[in-house]
């Protein structure tokens, strides 16, 4: 019981948001982003081999999971052991409604069944039998209904509940859990049935620290019930397009609020005025809201603000002078706005900035001079801007820069020399048509690169010689059409590669697959629109970590891949053609 007080179950997601803000989004093609989302669930991953000797404990747990049908009950085991068996069963997808019964009355604390197949109300009996031991339950994506929630009534020590994507839970379900007064974290993402009426249940939950109602379209008017939740620190109302200025008023007294997300809502400048008193707010997401630069006036009162997302707000330059007041900001997203170089002048003094997003803004080379003093910048997004080679000289002093996106800009080979001193750079997106082998040659000093996107660049076999300098690459995309098997010879020794996209190089043959067969870390491979045939597939047998394989426009059928999947690539979960 005492342990319950010190649990930090609510921290993960907040950091997740910040982290994503700083280092997410590596490239436009979307394929690299995929690396960030794992298909596996977070749980213990027991593996033999790789030099690490498995503890006897892990071997026993594995053995039990293999023979799970032999066991009728684990209730005689200490609960931390039952917990480990449960986690491993979930992780290895061996848990069924039958094997679940062995966990009745095991006093387990955490049941993470998010996205687990087959979970429905019939599971709730065993879940609730953990009684007062139960601290957190994740049933996101399950078929659980209001009736199922009735079971949780007696699990009064519950701290965290997650019912994301449970579309059969409604106002009635909320009422049933309103007695769980110890709850600190509650999540109901994408629920169409929760309305203001049902939200009156929240008024009881005075210990709530974190509430997530992302994509709940019927909650307008319900936030008045949060007024008394003085411990609330994080409120996610992303993509609730029913939320208006009226809904902001009840939030004005929640002075412990640290993170507020109301992106894609109907909140305007007037609604923002209610946030003035939230003097602990450090994260505010207003992406896609109908605000103008006038809201900066209200927000400048928030001295603790570290993260501000104003992407897609149609902000013009007018009023942007107020940005200069946000001296503590670490993350500022201004992408997809109408701002020009004139706005960047006001960012000059934001010397604490670590991440700046100017995607698709009307900024050019002259504006970048205002960034030269932002020495803490780690992540800079300039995709789809008018930035060209002469602007890059203003970036050459940003020694801490780790991620730079120049895709769809007008930079060319001549400017890349200016980047050669950015030795902290890990991720570089040069998905730019006018970049060629010459440009790549200027970057060979960037040996720390882990992600390099040359999707549309005109790289040929000769250029691939320079890739040999980038031994740490985890992801690489070269899809400009100029590669042949000869060039792939320079890729085959990049042994850390997890993602490789060589699609659109129509001259690549089965030889390419043979060359990369030693890249055993590969998780994702795309060689679409090439001369690969089903005969070449056998070279992929060694790539046991492969989860995604894309060979569209090749002489390969879905059945060819399925056969390979069943015999040699057990981890393959996504493939094309399908």
């Amino acid at each position: 019981m005492g342990g319950a007080c010190s649990r930090k179950s609510d921290q993960r997601d907040n950091e997740d948001i910040l982290h994503r803000g700083v280092s997410g989004k590596y490239c436009k093609s979307g394929s690299s982003k995929w690396l960030a989302t794992s298909f596996s669930r977070p749980a213990i991953d027991i593996q033999l081999g790789r030099g690490n000797c498995p503890p006897l404990m892990d071997l026993c747990i594995r053995k039990i999971c293999e023979d799970i049908d032999r066991y009728n009950t684990f209730s005689m085991l200490p609960r931390d052991i039952s917990q480990q068996i449960f986690n491993e069963l979930v992780y290895s997808q061996r848990l069924t409604d039958v094997s679940l019964k062995a966990f009745r009355d095991c006093a387990i604390q955490d049941l993470y069944l998010g996205e687990y197949p087959g979970v429905n109300d019939s599971w709730m009996d065993v879940i609730s039998s953990q009684g007062s031991s139960l601290l957190s339950v994740d049933l996101s994506g399950s078929e659980v209904t209001d009736t199922g929630l009735l079971h949780l009534k007696d699990c009064t020590n519950l701290l965290a509940l997650n019912f994301d994507y449970c579309d059969q839970i409604s106002d009635r379900g909320l009422e049933l859990i309103s007695g769980l007064l110890n709850l600190t974290s509650l999540s109901f993402r994408r629920n169409n049935a929760i309305t203001a009426k049902g939200m009156s249940a929240f008024a009881n939950l005075v210990n709530l620290v974190k509430l997530d109602l992302e994509r709940c379209p019927e909650i307008h008017g319900g936030l008045v019930n949060l007024k008394g939740l003085s411990k609330l620190e994080s409120l996610n109302l992303k993509c609730c397009n029913c939320i208006t200025d009226d809904d902001m008023k009840p939030l004005s007294g929640l002075t412990n609020l640290k993170a507020l997300q109301i992106s894609c809502s109907r909140v305007t400048d007037f609604g923002i005025t209610f946030l003035k008193g939230l003097h602990k707010l450090s994260l505010l997401n207003l992406e896609g809201c109908r605000v103008t630069a006038a809201c900066l006036d209200s927000l400048s009162a928030l001295a603790t603000l570290l993260y501000l997302n104003l992407n897609r707000c149609n902000l013009p330059d007018d009023g942007c002078e107020n940005f200069s007041r946000f001296r503590n900001l670490k993350v500022l997203y201004l992408g997809f706005n109408e701002i020009t170089d004139a706005c960047l002048v006001h960012l000059k003094g934001l010397t604490n900035l670590e991440s700046l997003n100017l995607d698709s803004c009307r900024i050019g080379d002259e504006g970048l001079v205002n960034l030269t003093g932002l020495r803490h910048l780690k992540c800079l997004e300039l995709s789809d801007t008018e930035v060209g080679s002469s602007g890059l000289r203003h970036l050459s002093g940003l020694a801490n820069l780790e991620s730079l996106n120049l895709s769809f800009t007008v930079v060319d080979d001549g400017g890349l020399r200016k980047l050669s001193g950015l030795s902290s750079l890990k991720s570089l997106n040069l998905d730019v048509r006018q970049i060629s082998d010459t440009g790549l040659a200027a970057l060979t000093s960037l040996t720390g690169l882990t992600h390099l996107d040359l999707f549309g660049a005109r790289i040929t076999d000769a250029g691939t010689n320079h890739l040999r300098n980038f031994k740490n690459l985890r992801s690489l995309e070269i899809c400009g059409g100029g590669l042949t098997d000869t060039g792939v010879k320079n890729i085959k020794n990049l042994s850390y590669l997890r993602l490789l996209n060589l699609s659109q190089n129509s001259n690549l043959t089965d030889k390419t697959l043979e060359l990369i067969s030693g890249l055993t870390e590969l998780v994702s491979l795309n060689v679409s629109n090439s001369r690969i045939t089903s005969v070449g597939l056998r070279h992929l047998k060694t790539l046991k970590n492969m989860k995604s394989l894309t060979l569209e426009g090749c002489k390969v059928t879905a059945n060819d891949i399925k056969r390979l999947q069943s015999t040699d690539l057990p981890n393959l979960v996504s493939f094309r053609p399908e």
Binding site: C53, L56, C60
Partner: protein, 98 residues
Amino acid sequence: MKKEDMVKLISAEGFEFVIDKDAAMVSQTIYNMLTSPGSFAETQHGEVTFPEISTTILEKICKYFYWHLQFASGKETEFPIEPELTLELMMAANYLHT
């Protein structure tokens, strides 16, 4: 073999297993007992009694210790576990931090 390089593990039934200290110290619990600066009786006599662990299980544990050493030196084989021993073995492994 010097006596101080060996250690005696005694099961609930009183059965004695004399094994290499190096092997026994695969267990974090035994390691702590044998190396703690305080004067544990175990440290002095090189003997540890496990009133909760049966002979069958302790024998299996000793086999694991040696398997572990082999594994660490690069001989990566499978460690066989009989299904009927698993639960009891797991409880012991938990106690021994192994």
